[in-house]
Amino acid sequence: MGGQPVIVMEGVYKYFGDFAALTNISLNIEKGQKLVLVGPSGSGKSTLLRAINRLETIDHGRILVDGQDIYDPGINLNQLRTRMGMVFQGFNLFRHKTALENVTMAPRKVLKMSAKEADRRGLDLLHKVGIADKAANYPAQLSGGQQQRVAIARALVMNPDIMLFDEPTSALDPEVTHEVLDVMVALAREGMTMAVVTHEMGFARQVADRVIFMDQGQIIEEAPPALFFENPRSDRTRTFLRQILPF
């Protein structure tokens, strides 16, 4: 690795009222890297991820995407956001559009791509996530796992430099979780840069280059998965791991 950093965060602070959601967060994500964020509920993992594409505004610090400060007043935020694909816990598919329309909407409206070309690309991507046969179905007619795969295709259609996954499997029935994880693993193998908030420790072990453990808005520990799971340095990490991997 060691390529140029896609994301740089420097001394980021975020408050919700008096509550410090992020405290002095600094991290780099380099091209091709897979970063997995773990930690207890309310530890700020999701907030960190959402801060990267400015769905949450930060109170202090800097966030650079491809070397551009996302709070630079001269920046085209919408254009910048197209470089980051985001997958949400609740899928957030456009409910009034079919699976294919969900994927093709952004290229057509944002990139002004022709309907024909957008459809071709959309179908390619639906095929890639294994759901091309449901292209004409509305989200209400799809299972959670299918919806989340459409959501991944929708995020990929803009050819993002980095994919942000915000607990992509937390809202799924356990037996369909693997549908989505398989797609994510395949994506990782293709060399996509990824930042993933998840509770799927198996995924973290298999895919991550680095695991970050957060608690109370702070990065407590940052390590390769082997080291992180076998030999955590901090007590807090050890307690957390003991709670979720109890022995």
Partner: protein, 308 residues
């Protein structure tokens, strides 16, 4: 090393812990205007059918009873108890109900004009107001909120007088114009609140997903949020339109000859007050029930994408 089956169980337990609650469909029901007859509400549905059949039947009977033997039905008790039907027969029956209809056509026309001109203006004002009310820009939000507060705090009747007489000092507005202006100004505020709550009922995630794909906030609103909000907004907006039709009777206090005013004129001439207002009541009942069915039909068509 952790055993795989155990690890899997723990993952699942954790995942369940943070899973969001299942989404509930949102409907906004506002109580002015007749209720929308949905098939899911069997009581109301059959009530609608009953009244919808009864109303035109009563109107047809009242306007024609003297011609198709209704006369006999009406005087049936007298035939039995008195037997002097010849005397009644001799009386020339003047059917005030039918006469009312012959008196009315221009009244119908005016009511339809007021309603049909007011609805698009009110809906337009409502959408603009609703969008301004959720704006994060203080002055825009404040202006829309003041509009809503002021309009909702003043009775429509007073607003009508105000526009007609008070503003009449400054500018001359034709009666129909001032009626349409006042009604749509008033209903624009009501509909603004409906539009606002309809937009707010759409999950925040929809907007976030659109923004994360590079949509501008404007595009997110017009391609993603509003098309979905229409489904929630439509029934209450339809209801407001029906309420608007009913409230259009208020323009009869101005020099506007709508159904209500023509009925009063008719009654003043013929002294058939009871007959005139019976017909007015039946006409409005028929119109509002017809419209409420129309709204329910449209509602069913709008939500097709949520069907599994």
């Amino acid at each position: 090393m952790i055993q795989p089956y155990k690890k899997r169980k723990i993952d699942q337990a954790l995942a369940r812990q943070e899973a969001p609650p299942p989404e509930k469909p949102v409907t906004i029901d506002i109580a002015d205007g007749p209720a929308i007859p949905r098939p899911s509400d069997p009581g109301l549905y059959s009530a609608w059918k009953f009244v919808m059949i009864a109303t035109p039947l009563i109107m047809i009977y009242l306007t024609t009873y003297d011609q198709i033997g209704g006369f006999i039905v009406r005087h049936l008790p007298e035939f039995f108890w008195r037997g002097n039907f010849l005397e009644d027969w001799a009386l020339t029956e003047r059917n005030a109900y039918r006469a009312f209809f012959f008196f009315m056509p221009d009244g119908f026309q005016v009511t339809f004009q007021v309603t049909l001109f007011s609805i698009p203006v009110a809906v337009f004002l409502g959408v603009i107001t609703g969008l301004c009310r959720i704006s994060r820009r203080r002055p825009i939000n404040l202006a829309a909120s003041i509009y809503v507060e002021v309009v909702r705090g003043i009775p429509l009747l007073v607003q009508l007088f105000y526009l007609y007489y008070a503003l009449g000092r400054l500018i001359t507005i034709p009666p129909l114009g001032s009626a349409v202006l006042a009604i749509s100004f008033c209903y624009g505020a009501y509909m603004g609140e409906v539009v606002r709550s309809g937009i707010e009922a759409i999950d925040r995630g929809q907007r976030e997903a659109a923004l994360s794909l590079g949509f501008t906030p404007f595009q997110a609103m017009f391609y993603v949020i509003l098309p979905q909000a229409v489904r929630t907004i439509l029934p209450p907006v339809g209801n407001e339109c029906i309420a608007l039709l009913k409230d259009s009777t208020l323009v009869s206090v101005l020099a506007i000859a709508d159904i209500m005013r023509r009925a009063r004129e008719f009654a003043t001439i013929s002294y058939d007050y009871f007959e005139a207002y019976t017909m007015v009541a039946l006409v409005y009942l028929f119109l509002t029930l017809l419209l409420s069915k129309l709204v329910s039909k449209m509602e069913g068509r709008m939500g097709s994408y949520e069907r599994r």
